[in-house]
């Protein structure tokens, strides 16, 4: 499923996207007001306290912190803007946004860090003195989003203006020994994870939930490590980043014919009864490779059994071409060839194989007219749906399966503990569940 | 400036709807849609045909045909109609007058009914949507 074509088939959603999100900001609160900073300036989010105090610095410089060996000044934004500051408990962790402004890296202390908000630049209004708490010259604009008014800070302006002044203040030469070991408690990690969660949803439509959170957690730490060692931004700031982050999420043989051996192993390992038509549902079938692989495997394993595969997708482009999907010879493992014929456009499955598959233009979020199924193959589909829809659909899958029917999720997806009606079936190198009898 | 009437047009074509004796062919237009009836009437009138009657269902068409016999030269007959459908009506008209000239008007997807009509004696058929050229061409060949 590609994002562009999804948009094409979903005008209701498209009208929202038409507003064109071309500006993303991290939002936070400060003295009860909402603020935003350009996500491109944000290096990371963390929680920390007990900064090393530096003498002879302006009152808003709370000290310096050691960010993995790099010494960065920590600025208290409330103090800087002369906003009423509460005296805080020394041991309490502060919310810090690490910014990169030109060559400078610094941290700002804010009250709470909220989320990533995507907006269209066109909707940003010029600052107006009435917003008052902060000098308008530090504000690049204001924008309304979902009923909240965000003041967008011009961090370049704020922090480069008195660069020289601060260069004197930020003691780059502070002896390392004086700096306490960075306290990056688990909470900061959680917060970073929260940002991954939000940015994955924004940029890739990927929704983190119990279904995939184990993978996301592992991937996030691997990702952080990799990006840091390559001196790259840790945060996901673009669709390309999100794509790269998710590149290891997908199940084996996504968007191509399945490896014949694993397809055969899977199907022969399923208890599909002795007779009668085998009914399979394959929502989110994309170009159809999964449905064809299943059709072939059913043919190999149960040559005498009738079977039907309902394959559907809401991507009109992909699903329309699925009935006549052609493969280049080198995309087709040898075992499939007896079930295929060569056509002008390449190798296609025979009419006989195709007659078992019904490709439908259908949105899984609408009513699903399938019933009495033995197998539902829905790999890496639910993760791209809203969390509520994920849960609703898993319940629906349960209802639509026969007792003893199977549910195949993506390799990195798994059912939460709430779904007690299923038990996991091990040993397939695929995430397979069976509806309890 | 010279106008057309200043020159006698020696090649003036006799309109298709006019017989050799100078009188118009008389047509019964059968269709349950006012739109189609009007459309056919306009097209035929433009070539000199005279639509002497219209009918909105098979029963009415059969009665009109019998009533006006032998003063109807051609019938255009819709296939799908209430009360009595076009094919049944065609059958009854042919029983009454084996020389009747009937052109069937069909929607797409009615090939079977069109075939049956031709076997029952319809002279020709026109598949909708109708246009002037198609209607006149088929009507004229039916009269030959």
């Amino acid at each position: 499923m590609t994002t562009e074509t999804q948009i094409e088939t979903q005008p209701e959603k498209a009208t929202i996207i038409v507003k064109r999100i071309d500006f993303k900001m991290i939002t936070f609160t400060l003295a009860g007001k909402d603020y935003g900073v350009d996500i491109m300036r944000v290096k990371e989010i963390r929680k920390a306290n007990q900064f090393t105090h530096v003498p002879n610095t302006p009152i808003f410089v709370r000290g310096v912190d050691n960010l993995r060996g790099e010494i960065i000044p920590i600025i208290d934004l409330r103090m800087m803007f002369n906003l009423p500051a509460e005296r805080r408990d020394e041991t309490e962790l502060e919310n810090i946004i690490i910014l990169r402004v030109g060559e400078i890296v610094l941290g700002i202390i804010v009250d709470t860090i909220e989320k990533v908000v995507g907006i269209s630049k066109d909707t940003i209004q010029p600052p107006h003195p009435i917003f008052g708490d902060i000098n308008v010259k530090y504000i690049s604009g204001v924008v309304e989003n979902e009923g909240r008014l965000y003041i967008i800070l011009d961090v370049d302006r704020i922090f480069t203006q008195n660069k020289e002044e601060r260069a004197a203040q930020a003691p780059q030469t502070a002896p390392l020994a004086e700096i306490p070991a960075p306290s990056i408690p688990e909470a900061a990690e959680e917060l970073n994870l929260r940002f991954f969660i939000e940015t994955l949803a924004t940029f890739a439509g990927f929704h983190v939930s119990p279904l995939n959170q184990d993978w996301v957690r592992n991937r996030a730490s691997e990702w952080e490590e990799k990006r840091r060692s390559a001196h790259q931004e840790v945060q996901i700031t673009s669709e390309a980043d999100a794509r790269e982050f998710l590149s290891s999420f997908y199940s084996p043989d996504t968007d191509r014919l399945w490896d014949p051996t694993s397809a055969k192993n899977l199907v022969s390992g399923l208890d599909l009864g002795q007779q009668g038509q085998i009914l399979v549902w394959n929502p989110g079938s994309g170009r159809g490779t999964e449905a064809y692989s299943l059709a072939a495997a059913l043919k190999w394993v149960h040559p005498a059994r009738p079977y039907k595969i309902w394959a559907n997708d809401k991507d009109l482009l992909n699903i329309s071409s699925a009935p006549s999907l052609s493969f280049a010879r080198d995309q087709v493992p040898e075992e499939y060839l007896p079930l295929m014929t060569e056509t002008k456009t390449g190798w296609q499955f025979t009419g006989e194989v195709k007659s078992h598959i019904l490709f439908e233009f259908h949105d899984i979020l609408h009513l699903n007219p399938y019933d009495n199924l033995q197998l539902i193959v829905v790999r890496d589909v639910l993760s791209f749906l809203d969390v509520n829809d994920q849960n609703r659909l898993i319940e629906e899958f349960y209802d639509k399966l026969r007792p003893g029917g199977y549910l195949l999720l993506g390799k990195n997806e798994k059912l939460g503990h709430d779904f007690t009606g299923f038990r996991e079936v091990e040993g397939f190198n695929q995430r397979l569940y069976r509806k309890k009898e | 400036m010279k106008t057309k009437s200043d020159f006698p047009n020696l090649n003036e074509r006799k309109p298709d709807g006019v017989k050799d004796d100078g009188t118009p062919y008389r047509v019964l237009v059968v269709d349950d849609s006012v739109f189609v009836t009007k459309q056919i009437t306009q097209i035929l009138a433009s070539e000199g045909f005279e639509v002497v009657a219209t009918a909105a269902d098979g029963e009415e068409a059969l009665n009109t045909y019998k009533d006006k016999y032998p003063n109807i030269d051609l019938v255009t007959m819709d296939i799908t109609m209430p009360k009595m459908d076009g094919v049944t009506c065609l059958e009854k008209i042919m029983e009454f007058d084996k020389n009747a000239k009937v052109v069937m008007i069909s929607a797409l997807g009615k090939q079977e009914l069109v075939k049956r009509s031709l076997l029952l004696g319809a002279k020709n058929y026109i598949v909708k949507p109708l246009d002037r050229k198609k209607v006149l061409e088929r009507v004229v060949t039916s009269l030959e």
């Binding site: 094409e8 699925a322 439908e360 979020l365 609408h366 009513l367 | 849609s33 739109f35 009007k38 929607a107």
Partner: protein, 159 residues
Amino acid sequence: MRVEYINPFVEAAYNILREVLSEEVKRGILYLKSSTNPVKGVAAIVGLAGEVEGRVLFDMTKSTALKIASKMNDEDLLDWDDLARATITELANLITAQAVTKLHDLGFRFDLTPPALITGENMEMYDDYKDETETLIVPMETSFGPVEINVAIRERNRN
């Protein structure tokens, strides 16, 4: 909805509208809907029965319907009268018939019911097929206004 059904309707709508309006029409982006459909003002409904069942609904505003009927009759129709109604009914017939003919050629067998025409303000369309399938919306843009073709069909025996 089965993908094989989609193109015949899109093509038929495009071909027929272009032919009867003698102008270029524009195809909008197809999409699926499962909610109740508001009807713009004039709706022609053609039923399908056979191996597949369902209905096709042609939806447009009364003003668009009058303009289209005027164009098809080659005269200015000012009132929503019998002729205007018959014309829009015929348009629905023409498009559905052409689509069904293409589907016949592909081996799907079913028949059409005569169109029913519904007009009114603030109407909503609700049909039972929704329990089983969503509808495909084929939006067409004509110079007389938009015409939306709303297709809900399904196989009679799904299992």
